[in-house]
């Protein structure tokens, strides 16, 4: 574990992988004076009130804190029904030398971890994608991807929460509302949750 300075109100913690980042996040959020703890691919940004705690104090706590204990509660698992009608399904199949049915099967076989958010409100990066399904983003992103589109790129899969530009490869569509600011919580996919996809 490595602690890097992030201005006077933050400390960036490096971890091995997404699951460790999320375990650290659970510990950090329980510390008085911590304002927020935001995960990304392999780092956690702990934002704190410098009047109440310090980077050094936080580093000491996170270093000794048992991340496994904090992660012990069984994470929420959500199953999402997907119509595999994505515009890039055939192309992904050709590129991975699988049939379209095999791409769908592999996408549905995995249990994903909601690792972190970004790109747009409610967009979540899910890890756990079958390595065989790793494909590059589009060279030229689409100017508009429909909301609910299930997509893959690199080591991640995700769901576009609302219509937006996007460069990920589209496999299918969900009917579920992924993002709704009038709902509590607004994001269907919260960091730490487990996700499974089933084909409909």
């Amino acid at each position: 574990m490595k602690f890097l300075p992030y201005g006077d109100t933050g400390v960036l913690v490096e971890a091995e992988e997404a699951i460790d980042v999320l375990a650290l996040r659970a510990v950090a959020l329980s510390v008085p004076g911590v304002v927020d703890a935001v995960p990304a691919a392999r780092t956690l940004l702990v934002e704190f009130d410098p009047r109440r705690t310090s980077a050094r104090h936080l580093a000491a706590l996170l270093e000794v804190g048992d991340p496994n204990a904090a992660a012990a509660p069984v994470p929420d698992e959500i199953t999402m029904r997907v119509r595999y009608d994505g515009a890039d399904l055939e192309e992904v199949a050709a590129e991975t030398r699988l049939s379209a049915a095999e791409v769908v099967e592999r996408h549905c076989d995995a249990t994903y971890l909601v690792a972190f958010g970004g790109f747009a409100p409610g967009f979540a990066y899910l890890t756990g994608l079958d390595p065989r399904l790793r494909v590059a983003r589009l060279d030229r992103p689409r100017t508009s991807v429909p909301g609910g589109a299930v997509a893959i790129a690199g080591e991640y899969t995700g769901i576009y929460p609302r219509p937006s530009p996007g460069g990920w490869r589209l496999l299918g569509t969900v009917d579920a509302t992924v993002w709704d600011t009038d709902r509590q919580p607004p994001a269907l996919l919260q960091p730490g949750m487990r996700v499974r996809f089933v084909a409909t």
Binding site: L4, P5, Y6, G7, D8, T9, G10, L12, R25, V35, D36, A37, V38, P39, A40, A41, R42, T43, L44, L45, E47, F116, G117, G118, F119, A120, P121, G122, F123, A124, Y125, T181, P185, P186, A187, L189, Q190, P191
Partner: protein, 273 residues
């Protein structure tokens, strides 16, 4: 009710923004110059964090339907006395000129601006489109009734411009040499393409170490000095994305972002360690 007759170059409603939603991809947003924003609310006796109008480079013109008490802080846009609570009679019109220095002005109204909130905030988020769109001519803003104190009589003193204090890291190894040294010794100018998402620096370049490969996406904060491959640093503003892939080589101290908020395109940007 306050009617916007002309928003000027750019005006939006801002409060303390949306802290706590970054993990689901929501920018922090909120007033760029926090000190000026809190002062404006204090002057009119508002609860902390009441929504204000943030306007850029003056130019705002408005009419008030009912008598209201207002206060102007931030950039000293001519049109109202700065840093003091002022009563405006029903029907009054105010037209702000261009401030001689500074960029962002704050207009607080006693009772706060009471437009609908989204994710607990009335702030316009210019990146993701949360909250109301930026102000436009013809917009009518409801004034709230929630106050927490009497109107404060005393005038405040304007903030002085000074160098931005930066802290090296987290990814300063991406820069050749000492990043604070490199930032403080070069002459930077604020680029015209700067906005609430990011302040873009012109004038010099930070040399990125060759062969660094690609960095996995990392969480960011306003104040982060991000270094894209072209070597032109960007200081993240309140509406910046919450995760990003370019290395953050230094971070501006939190309170100094109030100074950064007042830099105008073409102004020198001076750093200090």
């Amino acid at each position: 009710m306050i009617e916007i007759l002309d928003p000027g170059p750019f005006a939006s409603i801002q409060d303390r923004g949306r802290p706590g939603f970054a993990s689901v991809g929501v920018p922090r947003s909120g007033a760029f110059d926090r000190g000026a924003f809190e002062l404006a609310n204090r002057l009119v006796g508002n609860a902390r964090g009441a929504a204000c109008v943030e306007f850029t480079l003056g130019g705002l013109m408005l009419a008030v339907q009912h008598a209201v008490t207002v206060a102007l802080t931030g950039a000293e846009a001519p049109g109202l006395d700065w840093g003091v609570a002022i009563s405006l009679p029903a029907g009054a019109r105010v037209r702000f000129g261009t401030p001689s220095r500074g960029l962002r002005s704050y207009l607080a109204v006693r009772g706060g601006i009471d437009t609908p909130a989204e994710l607990e905030s009335r702030s316009t988020d210019t990146l993701s489109g949360l909250g109301p769109r930026p102000l436009a001519a013809g917009d009518r803003l409801r004034v709230g009734i929630s106050v927490s104190a009497d109107v404060l009589g005393a005038a405040a003193t304007p903030q002085r411009m000074r160098a931005l204090r930066v802290v090296a890291g987290p990814r300063d190894e991406w820069v050749i040499g000492d990043v604070v040294e490199a930032l403080t010794s070069a002459s930077w100018v604020l680029g015209a393409d700067s906005d609430r998402i990011g302040l873009r620096l012109d004038g010099a370049r930070l040399d990125r170490r060759a062969g660094g490969g690609e960095l996995a996406s990392e969480p960011t904060l306003p104040g982060a000095v991000q270094l894209p491959p072209d070597g032109r640093p960007i200081i993240f503003g309140p509406d910046a994305p919450v995760t990003g892939g370019y290395p953050v080589v230094a971070v501006v101290r939190r309170t100094d972002m109030d100074i950064a908020a007042q830099l105008r395109p073409g102004d020198p940007v001076v750093f200090t360690g």
